[in-house]
Symmetry: none
Subunit: 227 residues, 2 copies
DNA sequence: GAAAAATTTAAGATTTTATTAAGATTTTCT
DNA sequence: AGAAAATCTTAATAAAATCTTAAATTTTTC
């Protein structure tokens, strides 16, 4: 697997290289966007990790450039931690995933693997634009959710939580994992906000309290949606 | 759990020590990086808390040194308050988490716990996905257990116990070992809680009381699952 | 058959999850 | 910008499930 890494902070690019090399990926590492562009044109890449803020062409532009060549190419963006989530959302538009600095290298590795898996899967079948689970439709693109054909109005966080569970159906997801994936922040103790959201989602999905059909509780572990 | 604390501000190192001691961690506290390095070489540590700015070798270098020895070792960095978040990103590179001074000691404790949790989880990851024993399926990821294709509802401790026995199938495991591995606490005398759990597992696995098929009693020694 | 070890039982303690509602924050609308 | 509406977080309480304990019982060993 060939992975492009672009970051003008040398330390970060180097670190990423070390960790990904360790997983036996081939790394094409650049500190300047011009060089990266050249690489994009000449090498058969499998994934790109781009710093959003970079001199010259920024990550966003490069992302666009790659997407023009291949629509579903997996791209992970690196961003500095910013309070304004919308700003991040805007900047990382078009990326498959983004990671805020400073990040745990292991998390990066995990996400790289996940993005590659998704990509491979996509090229085999069609990446699930629409998830259908027993009467429940979740449309990723339009951020819509239908229950037996009727629209269920979910708030943004509710939608993200449901989507994450649905994407991982068959697996148990802990509150901690859910929080860190959806909120993209560290989970600290005594935080039952995930639980409250789960409750609201269940309510909106008209779940039977005693025996929920979609989101099941796995005691002591987390939540899951059955396969 | 052994935790290394390195900060040249004596007050801070001492404060961290007090709070972590209170959580029953063993603290190796140093004000100078040279001494800390010696400790790293000689003690089996579980986590390191490093001040970024420190005379001699700085936190970043020590971090690198530790990572060379063990790639995924959990490291938390302490940094002075800096406006530029990118700068922090660079400085704390390679750490799993960072905390800016001044910090709330309770938050530090929470982050320490979180980092240790993640580390333990990571180390558990590289085990068998699915264990199949003569009609019994144990799925680690989904925390599910099937008996002849039918779901057996196990509680968290029950699942962990069964998994431990299954991972060590062919070997006899004493109650004491089971307790210390599953509960991660010291086993004290007159403690038959393991036994009670074994009983409930056997019940759920529909074991023949006289001649259990899965979990066998090895008299005077412990329990085992045949290979 | 007696002693040691293992099992069973069930009640009370503890932990985890669910619910609720109020207050804080963010977004939308004018 | 300011008000209104929607959304999110927090904290307190309730409910449910699980875990521990201790005593009574059975099984195994010698």
């Amino acid at each position: 697997m060939n992975i492009l890494v672009l970051d003008d902070e040398k330390e970060i690019a180097d670190l990423v290289e070390v960790y990904l090399n360790n997983e036996n990926y081939s790394i094409y590492k650049f500190y300047k966007s011009e060089e990266a562009m050249k690489c994009i044109d000449t090498v058969k890449l499998d994934l790109a990790i781009l710093d959003v803020m970079i001199a010259g062409k920024d990550g966003f532009e490069i992302c666009k450039y790659i997407r023009e060549k291949e629509l579903n190419f997996p791209i992970i963006m690196l961003t500095a931690k910013v309070e304004d989530k919308d700003k991040i959302a805007g900047l990382t538009l078009g990326a498959d995933d983004y990671i805020t600095k400073p990040f745990n290298p292991l998390e990066l590795v995990a996400r790289v693997k996940s993005a590659l898996r998704r990509y491979t899967k996509y090229n085999e079948k069609n990446e699930e634009e629409l998830i259908y689970i027993d009467g429940l439709e979740i449309k990723r693109e339009t951020h819509q959710c239908l229950l037996y054909g009727k629209i269920v109005e979910l708030t943004p966080l509710e939608f993200d939580i449901l989507l994450y569970l649905a994407n991982n159906r068959g697996h148990v997801v802990s509150s901690e994992e859910l929080f860190e994936r959806v909120w993209k922040e560290k989970y600290l103790d005594n935080n039952n906000t995930v639980m409250v959201h789960i409750r609201r989602i269940r309510e909106k999905l008209k779940e039977d309290k005693r025996n929920p059909k979609f989101i099941k509780t796995v005691w002591g572990v987390g939540y899951k949606i059955e396969k």
